[in-house]
Amino acid sequence: MTDAVDLTCEFLGLRLPNPIILASGVIGTSAALMVRAAREGAGAVTAKSCGPGPRAGHPNPVAVDWGHGVINAIGLSNPGAVAEVALLADAQARLRSLGVPLIASVFGGTVEEFATVARIVSGADPDLIEVNVSCPNVADEFGTPFAASCADAAAVTEAVKVAAVGIPISLKLAPNVPSIGRIAAAVVEAGADAITAINTMPGMVINADAGRPVLSNRVGGLSGPALKPIALRCVAEVASAVEVPIIGTGGVMTGRDAAEMLMAGATAVGVGTAVWYRGVSVLGEIADELCAFLRGSDCAGLGDIRGRIFE
């Protein structure tokens, strides 16, 4: 048995107290909530994705638990980049004193919009900018997500990389592609410093008695337990394709799940839907459980299990 387990996580020169990162879109809507996530034990927090202008999102129902996970079509509700940057600056000031990095998240309908939003949110000096090229909930409006094509995803990457002036960027990829490894290779070639894998998987939940889809948007993104094996496979594929660090995200509910994500090649682990199943305190609890798992496996730190499935 190892006595001390070190959970600190080096990520692109950042030092996270632990590898558990609050995923984008889950309670990352205000400075107070992001500070709370950090206090409850997150190693870093990601803000809700923001776009060029304010969006109200879709009408209710916007999310349900369908038995093996959650489906949501919030519809990228956000106050727009200009309001967001103030919120992020407030959050960043308070998170710095807690030693917890802040990740901004941006989306757009065109390459130029992505760049504009990234330039604006850079003003809050986030530690990383996540580029949401994969949100399935606005497909009607924006067409196929940028994450579906190597060329589109690379174009967004190049534009955001320039706009972010020195702030590292992570491209958030979608699972509904034939080869996520190929997309990852394209965006890394185009300058991505990291990859976040994965966003939700597009799905539809139908209520047979009502005879219609449950979400007002009809389709939505699947997250939670059902997503985990898809996410692990995607992370392993990305890890085989590129050398950059990966934020492995999808279906992580426990410290054991987080360990699996690290074994598949992730450097840090995103946690979203677990907040529904176990409350906001799940962020610190998963970190504690991961620590216990490492101790029980005679490991001193994350490096001892990271990428283990490739050994």
Binding site: N60, W66, W276
Partner: protein, 242 residues
């Protein structure tokens, strides 16, 4: 996931309030709520007014609540829940004096709580606030349940004249309650909170907020305020325990 319920009974509570009794139970505690979905219309949070069978008390204030009022017996609605944190009775309620303060539909979940408290032999006093006599909700039913009821109306058309906090003040001065429970509009809750703080009384408040996911994910229902920082009405609440 939504379950399908059928309306089995409709009771008129006042000129703009109806109680819908549904065809089966939803295991839930007083203070918890459910998201009610009318396919093709919308989905909104409603307090659980009784759990077995599931019962909702709906005040018609806008499009969704009016659609609920249009439902007839035998018609269906869809329910997801129970959601949120319930009120908590004292560990040994028997003989304890509990004061409840309700405004608007807020009386509905308090009645569910009052009935549980009365069953456990607590002494229950319910202060009901309303604009005018016609708006007073569930007062007779609560009396029949065995609660002491004090009514306040803004225009004095029924009970005392003024805000419901005056009734709370009177109830507290009469005998120190073991706990105060309140549900109603935010200004009422803030007033109740400041009275309880002044008297050093434990209190539980059920907060209202616009809700979307109802699952503690989307952040829509954040309650902003000095005392509740980064607090979500749907998952940390709706009931806050102080």
């Amino acid at each position: 996931m939504h379950r399908t319920y059928t309306v089995t009974e409709i009771r008129d509570e006042n000129y703009r309030t109806k109680t819908l009794v549904l065809d089966r139970a939803l295991i839930a505690k007083p203070g918890q709520f459910a998201m009610v979905w009318l396919p093709g219309v919308d989905e909104r949070p409603f307090s659980i007014a009784a759990a077995s069978p599931l019962t909702l008390t709906v005040v018609a204030v806008g499009p969704f609540s009016e659609r609920l009022h249009q439902l007839g017996e035998g018609e269906r609605l869809w329910v997801r829940g129970p959601l949120g944190q319930p009120f908590e009775l004292p560990a040994q309620p028997s003989g304890k004096r509990l004061v409840m303060v309700g405004g608007g539909y807020g009386v509905a979940p308090l009645r569910f709580l009052a009935r549980e408290a009365l069953t456990a032999n607590a002494a229950v006093e319910v202060c009901i606030g309303a604009r005018t006599a016609a708006d007073v909700l569930l007062a007779e039913r609560l009396v029949m349940d065995g609660a002491v009821v004090r009514v306040m109306t803004e225009d004095g058309s029924r009970g005392g004249r003024g805000l419901v906090t005056a009734a709370l003040e009177a109830a507290v001065l009469e005998a120190r309650p073991a706990s105060v429970y309140a549900c109603g509009p935010v200004p009422m809750l803030e007033a109740v909170e400041s009275r309880c703080l002044a008297h050093g009384l434990p209190y539980q408040l059920s907060w209202e907020a616009r809700m979307r996911c109802g699952m503690g994910l989307c952040g829509t229902c954040e309650v902003h305020g000095r005392r509740r920082e980064g607090w979500l009405a749907c998952s940390d609440g709706p009931v806050s325990v102080s």
